[in-house]
């Protein structure tokens, strides 16, 4: 019998992030920038967290960055994720300076090594690029480059 644990949790979409998701469907990895202070804003917001201006605009990002932190999961949160173990989640410092959480693609070699020893620290600093996954609910992963 199927249960809700057999499906991936779908994002709880917020209205201020709608332009990001619309962009993702067009193959663009976007972020906001504050027109007042120039700060890159992530997650999508109604106001700039730095200067409180509501004057924000959207721009396309390079979709590249480096791994700031990571963790390879060996225990899944619920049934859907078990076939994917081990999988890596991390925070990526994007080229534009903001930090994005997401899944980091493990090569077969990395995945095998992770079963023997800790690899999370070895992943720090690796260059990655966004790959957009087209689906009913599109999402993105970070691939090593």
């Amino acid at each position: 019998m199927r249960s809700e644990d057999d499906s991936r949790v779908v994002a709880r979409y917020s209205p201020e992030a709608a332009p990001f998701w619309a962009g993702l469907r067009e193959g663009r990895f976007r972020h906001q920038r504050c027109h007042q202070c120039g700060e890159v804003v992530w997650h999508p917001r109604w106001l700039c967290p730095s200067c409180l201006s509501k004057d924000l605009g959207w721009e396309d990002g390079a979709g590249t960055g480096s791994i700031y932190s990571s963790s390879v999961l060996h225990r899944a949160p619920y049934a859907f994720w078990e076939p994917f173990l081990p999988y890596a989640l991390g925070i990526v410092q994007m080229t534009e300076g903001h930090y994005v959480f997401g899944q980091i693609t493990l090569t077969r070699a990395w995945a095998e090594r992770s079963k023997e020893e800790s690899i999370s620290l070895a992943l720090v600093g690796l260059d990655v690029a966004v790959r957009i996954i087209e689906a009913e609910h599109p999402y993105f992963v970070f691939d090593p480059v």
Binding site: R12, Y13, S71, L73, R75, P77, I91, F101, S120, V124
Partner: protein
């Protein structure tokens, strides 16, 4: 605010066991009755009731009012204090402020929870501790989010897996003496035990993690003026000072915190917590410094968090916690006993009452009524709880 004149007149506590795992409400009832038996307090005198957030095994909002109604207490002021789990420690701040200001004479703090089955928690806790739009869909667990900080802490300061393992070893050395500790029955362990344990969320292994247990705890505290407390007990525990800081909700959002008027280290980072500011505020209120603290009951849910807190409380410089741990000061017989019931790592983390357990342990130790190893002359005890994803911190300083 200087010269708090408030005290914990007494405490009540309750424990479930494998043979008799108690329901959350029964644990609350038993802890409350224990407090009433010890103090003789009339319900008519209780002007404030403060609880943590609703118990994990109950999850009805406004649990503070649910339990007050259950006990037929009619407080003028009552609230769930919810800076995630750290809110339980903050109940002492709220109670102290109300009593100190003369708004109420007696405040009841009451917290209980039962850990239930761990499987049901893994999805649930990740569900409300990760960003529902930009984190949750990627399959995080709570350990995997805390592991982001562990990776950074080890990367930035050269901390090793063996360093972290010693923290677990030390916690277990305390826990084996406590009759209700969840991991105590496993006996003492070695660094190898930790390093050989199953990887959960790299670099966090099973023995680097808190355990959901024991089979439920409940705690009740009666906060009143020092003068009134002296009429109720010969061993009041004074509340010397408190402090708190809540820096973010979701972990990724912590990386968007780019400036702060407070000392949170070079921002953004995942290696400095609000416990720095929380402890400094508490020290200032109490008129002490970190070196005056004689005992710590700290909410460290993972071994690296214990090290980060040692540094954030001011016991050593950032990155120097491994040396402090190796010194043996935190172990049984040391001069800075740390989590004398085994802490969240070894005593366990039974839902929201994990915020109360360190306070109960501190009060018991200060009164000379420890259930496990009794520390001689503990002096000033620092109690702490963390809530959310390294997010919320409250510190309360207690002494006889």
């Amino acid at each position: 605010m200087k010269g708090l004149d408030v005290a914990i007149a007494n405490y009540g506590d309750a424990y479930g066991t494998d043979d008799d795992p108690k329901h959350t409400t029964e644990l609350a009832v038993d802890a409350f009755l224990d407090l009433v038996r010890k103090t003789g307090i009339s319900r008519d005198l209780i002007g404030g009731v403060f609880t943590g957030r609703s118990p994990t095994m109950d999850l009805r909002p406004q649990w503070n009012n649910i339990i007050s109604s259950y006990l037929k207490i009619t407080p003028a002021y009552t609230s769930e204090v919810t800076s995630h789990g750290a809110g339980v420690n903050a109940t002492l701040a709220y109670a102290s402020a109300f009593v100190s200001a003369g708004i109420i004479d007696y405040a009841l703090i009451l917290v209980a929870d039962n850990p239930g089955s761990s499987a049901s928690h893994i999805k649930k806790t990740a569900g409300y501790d990760s960003d529902p739009e930009f984190e949750l869909p990627y399959g995080p667990t709570v350990p995997s989010i805390y592991a982001q900080g562990a990776t950074r802490y080890m990367h930035e300061y050269g901390v090793t897996e063996a360093d972290l393992a010693q923290v677990a070893v030390d916690h277990q050395a305390w826990a084996v003496h406590h009759p209700y500790s969840a991991k105590g029955p496993k006996g003492e362990i070695t660094i190898d035990t930790v390093l050989r344990s199953r990887m959960i969320a790299d670099p966090i292994r099973l023995w680097n993690s808190a355990i959901w247990g024991p089979q439920g705890t409940g705690g009740a505290l009666l906060v009143t003026s020092a003068e009134r407390a002296a009429d109720l007990t010969d061993k009041p525990v004074r509340i010397l000072g408190f402090g708190g800081m809540n820096t973010h909700e979701y972990a990724t959002d912590r990386m968007a915190l780019r400036s702060s008027p407070h000392d949170l280290g070079p921002l953004p980072n995942l290696t400095h917590t609000g416990a720095r500011h929380a402890s400094r505020r508490a020290y200032e209120m109490a008129g002490i410094t970190a070196s005056d603290v004689g005992m710590v009951q700290c909410g460290n849910n993972f071994t690296h968090m214990a090290m980060i807190f040692m540094e954030d409380f001011g016991f050593c410089e950032k990155g120097q916690a491994p040396a402090l741990v190796r010194s043996g000061r935190l172990r049984p017989g040391g001069d800075l006993p740390w989590n004398t019931n085994g802490g969240w790592l070894s005593f366990g983390q039974p839902g929201i009452s994990c915020g109360m357990d360190p306070i109960i342990e501190a009060v018991r130790q200060l009164r000379g009524e420890a259930l496990g190893l009794q520390v001689q002359h503990p002096g000033i005890a620092l109690t702490h709880a963390v809530g959310g994803m390294m997010a919320c911190h409250h510190v309360t300083l207690l002494s006889r």
